[in-house]
């Protein structure tokens, strides 16, 4: 089976700082991949390069059989590559329903023959809000939400684009145990519908529960990639996290 995402030795510099140093990553369709690494190891930079927010100087990104290096972020979203942001970035002047309406209008409707009827659009908005348990607050503004609800909105907006691959960038940081379980259940449910998920996270219990495979970034280099149980015992990974 050809991979859904193939990150081919990409390198990203910020001035003299090497944020990503020849990172390779292959993700198969339907996979649940965990991506971990200490703070500043380049996880978010990798997401930004994959999603088009930043441009990598060296290497290339291949998504669904297509080289996407020259595409802008919104073009990549339309091709089925969605992400949630580490710090939730809702459209703060819009109601929750309108927040979800944006990707529906600009991503799903841009594909052929989708959601042209107004009622379909409304129904889809409500369906998504119900899925994340926010239907009651459909007409409220994001500022009325709690932290966990904000994360759910962020995920719902990424899901609204009907992606093939969802990258969840630290969507559980700062949440309680039961809230983490909530989000995890949501991600599992998504994965069951055929969406490939990359989970970037610091909370190891959640990562271990979720991931089929685990990749580790340290100082811009991928130091390990394999079965989660094996990866966490890898001496290099242990050294990066605990020091020598």
């Amino acid at each position: 089976m050809s991979p859904l995402l193939h990150v081919n030795t990409i390198t990203k510099r910020f001035g003299g700082f090497l944020a990503l140093d020849g990172v390779d990553l292959v993700v198969q369709p339907g996979e649940r991949l965990g991506l971990i690494g200490p703070n500043g190891s380049g996880k978010s930079t990798l997401v930004n390069c994959v999603c088009g927010t930043l441009r990598n100087e060296v290497g290339s990104v291949n998504f669904n059989g297509e080289v996407i290096d020259k595409l802008t972020a919104h073009e990549r979203t339309r091709r089925g590559l969605a992400r949630s942001f580490q710090l939730p970035r809702p459209f703060h002047s819009m109601s929750l329903a309108d927040n979800l309406r944006i990707p529906l209008l600009y991503t799903v409707r841009a594909r052929e023959g989708m959601l042209h009827a107004h009622t379909d659009l409304e129904a889809r908005c409500h369906q998504l809000l119900e899925l994340v348990g926010l239907l009651k607050k459909a007409n409220q503004l994001p500022r009325d939400l709690t932290q966990v609800e904000m994360r759910k909105l962020e995920l719902a907006r990424a899901m609204a684009a009907e992606p093939k691959l969802l990258i969840a960038d630290e969507s559980m940081a700062g949440l309680s145990h039961s809230e983490i379980d909530d989000i995890l259940a949501l991600l599992f449910r998504l994965n069951e519908t055929g969406i490939t998920v990359i989970l970037i996270e610091h909370i190891m219990s959640a990562v271990m529960k979720f991931s089929q495979r685990l990749a580790v970034l340290v100082s811009g280099k991928k130091v390990a990639d394999g079965k989660p149980e094996d990866v966490v015992r890898d001496p290099e990974v242990v050294r990066a996290y605990l020091g020598q």
Binding site: G52, T53, T77, F91, R101, I102, L105, A158
Partner: protein, 318 residues
Amino acid sequence: MNNVKFSLIAIVVAAAVLAFAHWFKVDYLFFASYTILQFIVLATAWNILGGYCGYVNFGSAAFFAIGAYTSVFLHKAFPLPVPLLIVVSAITAGIAGFGMGYLTLRLRGSFFAIATLALAVVLQTLVVNWDFVGGSRGAYIIRPENLEIGSFQIPYIEYLFALMLGLTVLALVTARAIEHSQLGYGFATIRDDELAAEASGVPTLRLKLIATTLSGAFMGMAGAPFPYYIGYLQPQSAFGLEYAVNSIAMPMIGGTTSWVGPLVGAILLGSAQQYATVTISSAVNLLIVGLMLVAFVIIAPNGLIGLVQDWLRKRRAS
């Protein structure tokens, strides 16, 4: 209410205003209301970029002047009727808006504002040194006393007033249509968070270019009849500070998130300025703008519309 219905209502209201003014038959009324209408168009145009997308344009005067000087140029090169001048001005100012957008939209916040201010300075320098349109001396446009259509005779000021009224309707209908469309949602995401907008599939750069082009085109349209209205156009008046300041202040005072804001703000501020010009002195104009802007920033940061919305929300909650 759909767009067609709204357009019809707007046209009926405009026709009623025109009929009333015609019945009243005071030249000064036409003269003063023309200025207010012109500011409604300018404020609405500014709001398409500044209010909907959140990009503050300090160069409104430049686009207004592009419209005005397009008229002067054509008046000398090949005279056209004023409605056609408006169309040509819309095109030139629209192109200028597109160009400005392309060059500056990678800038954000105050940097974008400074760039638009610089554009106005550059254009003014060009016009001052362009002899064909009068240079720094200015240009006289002798307008006919009456417009003659067959055996009909319409006073020219009334004709210009009617044109500006038509432009006002066009600007308001366009702004409202944008607000309720997919484009309007896209603009709002740019205002809220561009990164998140891109991640949701919104082509932000293209949308910003649409906004600068539309906004510039409407400002140019507002400026096109101006040389005929004023009779003598010089760079200082076409690039006047009052255009840049008013185009920002009026939507701010009215409220920037809806088409009603610029309309209300322009009527309020424009009338106050006209009143002050007659009763006190024309120099007090900008002082009034400044004071009102300060007052509104303190009392109603989201403008009059925001104030009303907050009040409605509170009443619904209690």
